[in-house]
């Protein structure tokens, strides 16, 4: 007999035991709603169907049910245990007595309600409207037709561009890097992408790369990379054409 496959049919749960455990551990099922005694009864019934006592199953079941009970007990007194532990024995006894008294009174009040319900069992009254009652009139205040035009205009308005503010990403403008590369390349004919941008955030590096592509499209620079992931080298396209410029500016 496999304990985990024990089929349960409880008020709050229906299905195999291992699913119940999974749901409880994932906090998807409130253990305080689970009737643990019901689980024990289900297990004992299954056990009784067998001819021989399945000791392995009993052992496994005991471990699992003990764990469930401990979890349940803790769940029921989340802060109270701590609260009571801080009290002197006399105070704790008084606090417990107070709570028990409160519960006791409610239990008796519940019993009074049960009696009352039984004694009032032959009182019948109509629930809801009478068969031939007039229909309630729901009157609507006068409305302004301008508000109809207003909502149609709202529906016809371009949706706002989604805001990225919540993503907390700071995008530096691409132009900032375009200018930065131009300035660098004015002083040097060749630069190494990774070296120049070391220490920048990933977002800034990405924007810098966009700036490179922009400059490449304009024909201002040449980009080389010997192999994938190899350093990216950037050079001015006019280096070859105008060496004197380099010399002059260097």
């Amino acid at each position: 007999m496999i304990v985990r496959e024990l089929e349960l049919d409880l008020d709050a749960f229906e299905g195999p035991f291992d699913l119940l455990l999974t749901l409880v551990l994932k906090d998807e099922l409130d253990l305080s709603e689970i009737d643990v005694a019901g689980i024990v009864v289900a297990f004992v019934e299954r056990l009784a169907e067998r001819e021989r006592l399945d000791l392995d199953a009993c052992g496994e079941f005991l471990v699992l049910v003990a764990a469930l009970l401990e979890l349940k007990a803790r769940g029921l007194f989340p802060e109270e245990e701590a609260e009571l532990a801080e009290l002197e024995p006399e105070e704790a006894a008084e606090e417990l007595a107070r709570r028990l008294a409160e519960y006791r009174r409610m239990k008796e009040a519940a019993a009074w309600l049960a009696d009352r319900l039984a004694s009032e069992g032959d009182r019948y009254f109509r629930l809801g409207p009478a068969p031939l009652a007039p229909k309630p009139e729901r009157r609507l205040a006068d409305q302004d037709p301008a508000q109809l035009a207003e909502v149609i205009r709202l529906l016809a308005a371009e949706p706002p561009t989604p805001s990225l503010a919540h993503m907390a990403l700071q995008f530096p403008p691409v132009t900032q890097f375009v200018e930065r590369f131009r300035a660098l390349l004015r002083r040097r004919s060749r630069i190494d992408f990774d070296q120049e941008l070391a220490g920048l955030s990933r977002v800034e590096q990405a924007v810098a790369f966009l700036a490179l592509l922009d400059l490449r499209r304009n024909g201002e620079i040449a980009i080389e990379q010997a192999a994938p992931f190899a350093p990216i080298r950037i050079s001015r396209t006019d280096v070859e054409r105008d060496n004197s410029w380099t010399v002059r500016s260097a």
Partner: protein, 200 residues
């Protein structure tokens, strides 16, 4: 007649009449003679007798409760002389406004003419079922045939009550939307375009 046998009751008819009274005051719908016979376990003929006794006691001018025979059976109603008081009891206070969902739905139906729930949902970007149901219940829109014959979705149009509540002599008095193109087809097209751009 095929009727289940019942014990012949020895109860006097006026006691039966009291039981019938009790059943009628609890019922949420008119009760047929057969139902009354079933509940009282008495004879339909005797029920009829009890009902005529009660009809005499609960009649217009004599009592505020009037027993009436309607389709489907017998039921109590309020006497006519109490009509005004009943009106005051059932008249709910004036409802000031309409929800935004209701207004949007109403505006679409008013400006674009008869349209279906899927139409409205597409333009608004959210399901329109409860907004449409609420407006139908309030009598501001009503069914107006189906989209392309019998199988299509139900179309809705505004009602005369809508015109009255919004103080319009006719739909042509709706505020003009020249800024959106003016005519219905342009506005419809524009609404559909915008709806598609909206993030899902």
């Amino acid at each position: 007649m095929d009727r289940p046998l019942r014990l012949i009751s020895t109860n006097p008819v006026d006691q039966l009449a009291r039981t019938v009274e009790a059943l009628l005051v609890v019922a949420a719908a008119p009760l047929a003679v057969e139902e009354l016979a079933e509940a009282t376990q008495d004879d339909p003929e005797r029920i009829q007798t009890a009902l005529s006794l009660l009809s005499d006691r609960y009649r217009e001018g004599r009592s505020g409760i009037v027993l009436e025979k309607v389709a489907g059976g017998w039921a109590f109603r309020a006497a006519r002389e109490a009509g005004e008081a009943c009106g005051r009891l059932f008249e709910k206070p004036v409802q000031r406004g309409l929800s935004h969902a209701a207004l949007e739905t109403l505006a679409i139906v008013a400006y674009l003419g008869p349209c279906t729930r899927p139409d409205i949902a597409r333009i608004r970007g959210v399901a329109a079922d409860s907004a449409v149901a609420g407006l139908v219940e309030r009598g501001l829109i009503a069914e107006a045939g189906r989209d392309d014959g019998a199988g299509g979705a139900i179309r809705y149009k505004t009602t005369p009550l809508f015109e009255r509540v919004f103080g319009l002599e006719s739909l042509s008095q709706l505020p003009r939307l020249d800024d959106l193109g003016g005519d219905v087809d342009t506005i419809r097209e524009r609404l559909h375009e915008i709806a598609e751009k909206r993030p899902a």
